[in-house]
């Protein structure tokens, strides 16, 4: 256990070297939030209605504030297993007495943790400058929000493990991984709430597990989901974690037989 804690600390020191870059990245990412406020304020002003698809203006602004925070948990740019396999650096991990899946999860956690820390000042500014529109959750919903966010991060890691492990079988997958994560982000409701869609598109997106990355946690934060429903969601995420982890292990174990020290 201690070796993993040390690894986390070392990974954190590694990302700390890029603190100014993190800071600028977080700063420029606030643009999306303020543009969203301007856009949706104009939409609600035009329609004259106080609600669109059961969302008030306060709901939608809170939605973008929370998704802005959840974007910091997007691990697509923090995970390098595929690049390591492709480049042959995976050998370093393979010969060491540790769990490779866990070690890469620690690298991701260190990166996300540092990203979250650098984002916090901007999050406070965003919340402060739009405080009159921010809806707060009830205490039980806040707890479920945290639980769903943590579980969905693990689920997303397992999903990405599958994509990264495919490098063993099919070679360089970095652009395919980027594309898959990009599509998953939209399917998760990161650009706008899934509730705004209708018909089969909405039903399809609600049936997929990606909704747990952005849409479901934010709905819980907005008190649009009851405690009983939240419990069901947590059970659902647990099942998806098991499915994704099972598949990733299958792809990983069969793939590692094809790995040579010079890369893939």
């Amino acid at each position: 256990m201690i070796k993993y804690l040390v690894y986390f600390k070392v990974s954190l020191q590694d990302v700390y070297a890029y603190r100014a870059d993190f800071f600028l990245f977080m700063a420029i990412n606030t643009v999306f939030f303020y543009v969203a406020i301007a856009l949706w304020s104009a939409v609600y002003q035009s329609t004259g209605d106080s609600e669109i698809s059961s969302y008030t203006l306060s709901n939608i602004i809170t939605y973008y504030l929370i998704t802005g925070l959840l974007f910091r948990l997007d691990l697509s740019s923090s995970m390098f297993l595929s690049a390591d396999i492709w480049g042959g650096y995976f050998t370093n991990d393979y010969i060491k007495p540790w769990n490779i899946v866990l070690v890469h999860f620690i690298i991701v956690l260190a990166d996300l943790f540092f990203g979250m820390i650098t984002f916090l000042p901007f999050f406070v500014i965003m919340a402060f400058t739009s405080f009159q529109h921010i809806s707060l959750p009830t205490f039980p919903n806040f707890i479920f929000f945290i639980a769903v966010v943590i579980l969905s991060l693990i689920m997303n890691y397992c999903f990405n493990l599958i994509l990264h492990a495919l490098t063993f079988h099919y070679g360089d997958q970095r652009s395919q991984i980027a594309l898959a994560n990009y599509i998953a982000t939209f399917l998760a409701g990161a650009v706008f709430p899934i509730s705004f869609l209708s018909g089969w598109v909405r039903d399809l997106l609600l049936a997929l597990p990606f909704k747990f990355l952005f849409f479901t946690p934010t709905e819980i934060f907005l008190n649009k989901v009851s405690v009983a429903e939240s419990q069901v969601y947590i059970a659902e995420i647990a099942i998806w974690i098991m499915i994704f982890f099972g598949i990733s292990q299958l792809v990983y174990r069969t793939g590692i037989k094809k790995y040579s020290g010079t890369g893939r």
Partner: protein
């Protein structure tokens, strides 16, 4: 003549490089097209509830978005790759030496050094789609409006390039700020909606100090509404002004460059 020779070599290199990485090319083309689909879906969701957004109908807003997309893609074909590498690698690794010692304009040379021709594939879809959307707006587009639009769009594309240069110039001093390459991407968020949705202060800033709103809004306005001479003149003037600023800043930054020891 020497520029033409350089461009020919760069084009050949780019084609050879892209041919070797079909996965990267395909993924980039798909993600670009997918972004169009996402945005259109969002606009449909918005316009299910409203008839217009700051006085612009659905097709006009889609056109404005496609205008942004086309300008970004066009810059992507020619200059984006080189500027991204400048922000991420050239100064930090000392690779800028290669561009600095050549008897050509180093800013221009760096800019065109990594063209991404696969963006043309997306442009082949977005440009005809923009034309179709413009015809669907229900507005009678006059020949003069179209000519004025083309004139302004030309300057818009150049202005976008100069603003992109300005955003990455700090790399001469702040060598490890990779995110500089992402600044202009974020600015495209502002360019894609009608200017009327923003407050007066935001409009003043993004029409004058950092005129990303002018890039899409003024040409589109000229196409759909009456031609205003002051818009045409303004577009030309700010393009030259920001061109001068970009060149000046680049030259100042260059003096701070000390090869790999920067």
């Amino acid at each position: 003549m020497r520029y033409w020779k350089i461009i020919k070599i760069i084009i050949r290199n780019s084609y050879t490089r892209d041919k070797k990485i079909p996965g990267v090319v395909t993924a980039n083309v798909f993600s670009s097209l997918f972004e169009v689909i996402i945005t259109l879906t969002m606009f449909s969701a918005i316009f299910n509830n409203v008839e217009s957004l700051s006085g612009w109908n659905y097709y006009q807003v889609v056109f404005l978005y496609l205008m942004m997309k086309n300008i970004v893609l066009l810059n992507g074909v020619v200059v984006r790759g080189g500027l991204n590498d400048m922000a991420k690698e050239y100064v930090r690794m000392g690779d800028y030496d290669f561009y600095l010692v050549k008897p050509v304009n180093s800013m221009l040379f760096v800019s065109v050094s990594k063209p991404r021709f696969y963006n043309i594939v997306v442009l082949m879809f977005t440009i005809p789609f923009s034309i179709w959307i413009a015809m669907k707006t229900g507005i009678d587009l006059g020949a003069l409006n179209i000519l004025a639009f083309i004139f302004m769009a030309f300057f818009s594309a150049i202005l976008y390039y100069f603003l992109s240069v300005i955003t990455i110039v700090p790399t001469f001093w702040l060598v490890r700020l990779f995110s500089l390459s992402d600044l202009m991407n974020r600015a495209t968020q502002i360019m894609r909606y009608p200017a009327g949705i923003y407050s007066m202060l935001v409009k003043v800033i993004f029409f004058t100090a950092f005129p990303v709103l002018a890039i899409t809004y003024l040409p589109s306005w000229t196409l759909f509404y009456s031609i205003k001479a002051e818009y045409l003149v303004y577009m030309v003037v700010i393009t030259f002004v920001f061109g001068w600023i970009a060149t000046k800043l680049w030259n100042i930054g260059e003096r701070n460059y000390g090869s790999a020891s920067s």
